[in-house]
Symmetry: C2
Subunit: 324 residues, 2 copies
Amino acid sequence: MRIAITGAAGMVGRKLTERLIADGTLNGAAIESLHLQDIVPFEPPQASFDITAETSDLADPGVAEALAARDADMVFHLAGVVSGEAEANFDKGYRANLDGTRFLFDAIRLREGYAPRVVYSSSIAVFGAPFPPAIGDDFQQVPLTSYGAQKQIGELILTDYPRRGFMDGVALRLPTICVRPGKPNLAASGFFSSIIREPLAGKEAVLPVSRDVVHTHASPRSAVGFLLHAAGLPSEEIGPRRAITLPGVAVSVSEQIEALRRIAGDKAVALIREQHDPAISAIVEFWPQRFEANRASRLGFTAETSFDDIIRIHIEDELGGSLQ
Amino acid sequence: MRIAITGAAGMVGRKLTERLIADGTLNGAAIESLHLQDIVPFEPPQASFDITAETSDLADPGVAEALAARDADMVFHLAGVVSGEAEANFDKGYRANLDGTRFLFDAIRLREGYAPRVVYSSSIAVFGAPFPPAIGDDFQQVPLTSYGAQKQIGELILTDYPRRGFMDGVALRLPTICVRPGKPNLAASGFFSSIIREPLAGKEAVLPVSRDVVHTHASPRSAVGFLLHAAGLPSEEIGPRRAITLPGVAVSVSEQIEALRRIAGDKAVALIREQHDPAISAIVEFWPQRFEANRASRLGFTAETSFDDIIRIHIEDELGGSLQ
């Protein structure tokens, strides 16, 4: 089993890499090699199999072709510019999320005799308001951000190419991943994590939206689980609709805060400072809240069932298992 | 009012041109100039206002920029490769339908101070099976042809750019246009027209699919009506979902044939020869059948209400008003 990961230096990419190194296998097959690609420089970890690391831009000429030429059996395509940045920087978003993705899929298409499984990280940002109370698997995808449009275009190409035999793809509409460790990134959704992560570390966090905002979350551990489960799904079980809306925990910001209070007390909650940000609110206002995700459940995808669990996983995976 | 039409030599483009020349106005404003563009050479008609014609490929460097530089107030973007051809010729379809469309929208975006109304001909091919009995306005768009994927990508860009102020767009998901005059084109839907048109002209026609196939149709006259109505819709009435599924007449092939029998008799019907074509059947099998099109109705779009009317309009507009 030869594996490639784009966007490998990102949070999910790093956690996926760690998990693959720990497992040593994927889909029951021993991992022979792992190629890690990202636009930012990064240090590849050690493993018992071959690991290569490459800093490159998938939208640059020849980069996607070189990646396809590695003949990985499994390609996790996680590279991309996040929502807030794609909204703020039009050219950067279309270049990375549309051109980079299309170049990669085209390089795979044009490589003779090569049709790997591609697991593509799409997003619930492919949906745009107004929404029904819970978004069903049949609901229209009309994004209201450039990021959502770019992700949806990636889904469309990824859906068309397997039908034509060019590759074997599956797109995952990831819910917001929470609690993200490390520094905030430019995703408009970043505050959903920082209002938990920062208070748990004794630091102040800014809440830029109303406490009534409802959103769907899954832990980084679930995100890696989604990707590995998608890697192993038989193509015929996926069928012609290659994009799957994933399950998660739908909670209001208030409910997130109450979960934090149950686990870390009033002192932690007191570190959340409300400071309205109209730009972030405008993006988040049009984001989906809840999903039925029946198809994902039938296909065996699982996530947490409470926000308390999401916080506990953060404490286990990032804070050594207990609060100071 | 300055107008540009891409794909102007196509059937709908020619009928739109005729109608604009006959009206002399659009949205209540006198037409000052009309620029016609197509990839195939064509003779522009005469009019009381300036008409220019250009044979060019929107996917060639500089062509889209030159078109945007004409500063048309209204751009009807009809150019594209039809469904059967886009399926048979991968490169041609993506080049014309994705690259050509993106280049045009980008040229408009990049032209300083320019944000025309763009009316884009999308297609019900953005929907893929399985379908509910009638497709509602909220139904997911997961095309099962390359043509449908390309049209949907065009919709996504056209939906994103107006939100960002780059242009003022509306995408029309046209039903199958029937009865198409003239020679068959390479659209997989061509037989829906030829089984009516050819017998009305005393010629044999081939029916390549089962008589049970249900599909939604509107006349060429309605197609032009849709485009003109879309040109005049206030942007705020369209709202953020810029793509509209249009109304039409949902009938089975059997019902089409019975309408033909009522209007032109058994002799006409006897000219239809059933000859199964697996390639066309495979495409049409996954096409949508019926639509609710409630939103289009609320926005004032109208089509025929019976297939008999569709045949009568063909006789009026193409056969001088009566059968020989």
